[in-house]
Point group: C2
Chain length 583, copies 2
């Protein structure tokens, strides 16, 4: 080793030891007779001291070193006269007797500090410098810890990690695949897996009983702010279990992770049906760090001559506690907010419950004091509260009110990143109708089992009413995991493909291997997958998953550091029997 | 859970418990009044007993169940009258009171037994059934254990696992890349990584200090028997280290794995230079489970009028101890063996040392008894030994003798799969000359550092003499890992690219990001990568890595189970701006 110690480990008890450290020059300070350098490595920062009088040549050499120079330094550990309470090494410094410059550095394009002056694009281009920043490195250390603890928990529960293939077969169902031309099989393509779904089911059929894998998955979708073309999943499957067993097992995993990684004890996870989630929160991943449940007002609001409400399928609102003093400007902002195309409401109705108990609404013309009092009762609104109401087509209005509720939660500081609220959302619909394509799609995926008691609805052509044994784990309004009990019967699986519009031939061509496997003794099985990047960002209290990925891609799917993707040469194309088409 | 216990856990102490088990019907036996079923799951086999007299209907139902049916069985644990000493559950059986058929099974295409009647192709097509066989599952359980213990060791040594990207940039140097057309960047391609080499070096530049990853890598090469297009590496890198530190650290890893996984204590690994490996074993990955070192005979063999030896660059042989009684037929077999095109020798000379000390050779015409006695002394051949000699161009002869040595090792039973002999091969040449392309290639890769004392040879144009700080770990004649100290100086790296025939522009286009990174303070660093599949197969005492991969591909790169690769539809091609070219 070029060093005897790291820059994070020396303490007052090490005084008088002769040590050698290696690291980067974080910062230098010249104070008349002394020069100080902060030397940084992964483990911490140690102060180096050079004395002009005792060793002028060495001091001169030190003064010529710039930021991010790589140094190897030998000296004696001494007690500092002015101690630094923030640094763990802050009680000591190194009286340097000798040092080598292992490598020089030109000036970095941004400062390597917690709060850097580098913009997003610059930091991505020089990601290797961005990763030197303590915050970014801490994110990846957290990620490592979450992965270690996940493995520890699952290993102890007898799960076995099995690597499934990356070069698999393309299937048109679901999101778009990345494909890989095969040189040895001209004109044919592999696909990169969107998930190891069929493989983990085959492993259950093989009797592996409990499988997991922390695994890269790929989706060629248009990227939104927080999606990556390659992402990581904690992928799990169990045999001879029912939904309840999966919920208990993975509730255990998440509790373990919170305890070990964050030191937080999590309560048992409440369960909410999909129907309730939509009714009370307007979305299937409610942020339950705060209450502010939806209150439906059709019975009290309609038939009083206010055309907006009378023509609406649904009148629904929330009680923003303590907001009755909102100014005209603030209310206008909220109105603008709900009218944004992403939210999609046509307007906002409010009712303030004043300190004296009187109620002032934006629709006083149609509703008298008694009517408004009944509103307040229904919303459990007390003096000081503000009722916010939207109306219109039911689904759209719930979706818009969900946005408004989250906005109010943010404004009221109810969405603390250091507070965690976890729940299961259960009883998802099996199918959802797609207007554009005029057919049903699997809400989870085509291998999800309907609830046994709902299977008869499949035959009665009440497809939209069929519930699935499917479940999502939601933390702070983020879907961190989801899964289902799987179909393990060939005929039921064939029926599902039929409902999803597959011909028998298509089903056989794409999933024949799985349906054949069902014939050789498939056990009941169920599973779940967690978005690992997302879980890490949640644990790290951050919004973006990008900060928890070492080398992320930008919104065009580019790695701007290595400049990928890039063109390849004609020889390569020819070998692969493909050509690039001009647009 | 559908079960109370697994099929592997019940013991005599559980007698009288009422239990529920789930599993597959391994085998049924009807013995007059009793029917017995062996029920199998991942954890073991438990015998089920059905009594015709006490419950005829249940017994009848049991008799109708075929092999591989999935059953859920409830009954009482009872002591067996005739115990099975081989099974851990062999002292008990279940007196079944009730059971459900969870799923039926048609007859599998081969028997699910340790020694199956299924051929290779059939087992690959029905890999999910092959994986039910205890031996195959045990291989994957071993793999899981090797991975767990690798992580445990490296975690404790402060290594941090960082996931590097799978969608990267294609580089023409080295093996052929798999590429992925980018839809969002028409006409451009990602490449799948052949290794995370440049990324792990960037992580060192970022200050990560100790990195590892168990990671999938990809090479689009023509597949030999034991190569897979996707394979797994244990990939590692350290900063502020010298070669010695890497050797010690990863010697520690391998010792840990042998101890924890195999219960074997491994001695400190001997080191052998590349030059010695070639001189004494004719290859850079000698199987040192047995001695049989090469002995060079030029001084004694040449100039005696035997034209084959006189015209040879090298006369070299081995002493096959105890083989003096080999028959004419056996010697002919060996001659045929060395003359095979894969081995490439033109003939074989032998000399038997008889029990009475006389020596009989196939070249007695040219060498008298005294001359042969000197041979015997040089080979340290005792009565009963057989000297085998090849001659010709030095490199080719060494290569051929290596094959002969291994063949003799096998014939003499010296290559026991349960015996392990590990070593480091060090001081590899930096460059090797490729006759076809008339240029030097990097023997390891272009980022490998020359030995500091040999750098001057680069300028003196003695390229073939430059040694690298590169090392391979060899176990039982298999290269399980290899690595090097890396270049961390921009100018030296630029010179390497120049030597390898890159123009400045090419070097910049392909590796500009790395060379730029070297400008911002790159630390000295070094690393290693282990072939994880190979390591597992070695631990499992098997020749083929395929048995240690859950879903391997065949020699044409096909997954015959899922039938990949396959054609994709025109819409997909169009979106990707590519077309398939007819050959």
């Amino acid at each position: 080793m070029l060093r005897t110690h790291t820059c994070g480990e020396l303490r007052i008890t090490d005084v008088n030891k002769t040590v050698t450290l290696c690291g980067w020059l974080q910062k230098g300070r010249d104070l008349g007779g002394m020069t100080f350098i902060d030397l940084r490595d992964r483990y911490g920062i140690t102060q180096l001291a050079f004395n002009t009088e005792t060793n002028p040549a060495l001091c001169e050499k030190a003064r010529k070193c710039g930021r991010e120079f790589v140094l190897k330094v030998t000296g004696k550990v001494i007690e500092r006269s002015s101690k630094n309470k923030i640094l763990t090494t802050g009680e000591i410094e190194i009286e340097v007797t000798d040092f080598d410059i292992l490598n020089e550095a030109i000036t970095p394009p941004f400062t390597i500090e917690e709060h850097t002056d580098g913009g997003d694009e610059l930091r991505m281009k020089y990601r290797y410098l961005d990763l030197r920043r303590t915050t970014v490195r801490a994110n990846l250390e957290l990620r490592h810890q979450v992965s270690q603890q996940t493995r520890k928990f699952l290993d102890e529960q007898n799960f076995i990690e099995v690597e499934t293939p990356v070069l698999i077969k393309s299937t048109p169902e679901g999101a778009r695949d990345f494909v890989v031309p095969s040189r040895m099989n001209a004109g044919e393509f592999y696909a990169l897996p969107q998930s190891p779904q069929t493989f983990k089911q085959l492993l259950m059929i093989s009797g592996f009983d409990r499988y997991y894998q922390i695994v890269k998955c790929f989706r060629d979708e248009d990227l939104r702010a927080d999606r990556q073309p390659e992402f990581t999943q904690i992928d799990c499957e169990m045999s001879f279990v029912e939904q309840e067993d999966i919920l208990n097992m993975f509730e255990g995993l998440v509790k373990h992770l919170f305890k070990q990684v964050k030191g937080i004890d999590i309560e048992n996870l409440p369960r909410m049906t999909y129907t309730d989630a939509m009714k009370f929160y307007g979305c299937d991943k409610p942020d339950t760090r705060f209450e502010m449940k939806f209150v439906e007002l059709n019975d009290l609001a309609k038939g009083k001559g206010f055309p907006v409400f009378d023509n609406a399928e649904l009148v629904v609102g929330v009680n923003a506690k303590g907001c009755s003093e909102y100014t005209r400007k603030q209310l206008d902002e909220l109105t603008e907010f709900v009218k944004r195309p992403q939210v999609g409401a046509t307007g906002l109705v409010y009712a303030r419950v004043n300190a004296d108990g009187t109620i002032k609404s934006s629709v006083d013309k149609f509703y008298d004091a008694d009517a408004l009092k009944m509103w307040a009762q229904k919303f459990d609104a007390k003096p000081g509260d503000l009722i916010l109401i939207l109306a219109g087509q039911a689904d759209k209005t719930r979706k818009a009110l969900n946005e408004l509720r989250l906005e109010m939660g943010t404004r009221l500081g109810l969405r603390d990143v250091n507070k965690f609220s976890c729940l299961w959302v259960v009883d998802f619909p099996l199918l959802e109708f797609n207007e554009e394509e005029n057919r049903y799609f699997a809400m989870h995926h085509p291998f999800t089992s309907p609830k046994p008691e709902d299977i008869k609805l499949l035959d009665e052509n009440k497809l939209g009413e069929v519930r699935a044994n499917a479940y999502d784990m939601v933390i702070n309004g983020v879907e961190v995991g989801g899964g289902s009990v799987r179909i393990f019967n060939k005929n039921l699986q064939a029926k599902m493909f039929e409902i999803l519009g597959f011909t028998k031939e298509e089903a056989q061509a794409q999933f024949g291997f799985l349906m054949n496997a069902f014939e050789y003794g498939a056990p009941p099985h169920a599973g779940i997958a967690f978005g690992f990047d997302r879980l890490c960002s949640l644990f790290g209290g951050a919004d973006s998953i990008r900060d928890f990925i070492a080398f992320p891609k930008n919104n065009s799917g580019r790695d701007v550091m290595i400049d990928a993707p890039s063109s390849i040469d004609d020889k390569q194309l020819k070998e692969l029997s493909i050509a690039v088409m001009k647009k």
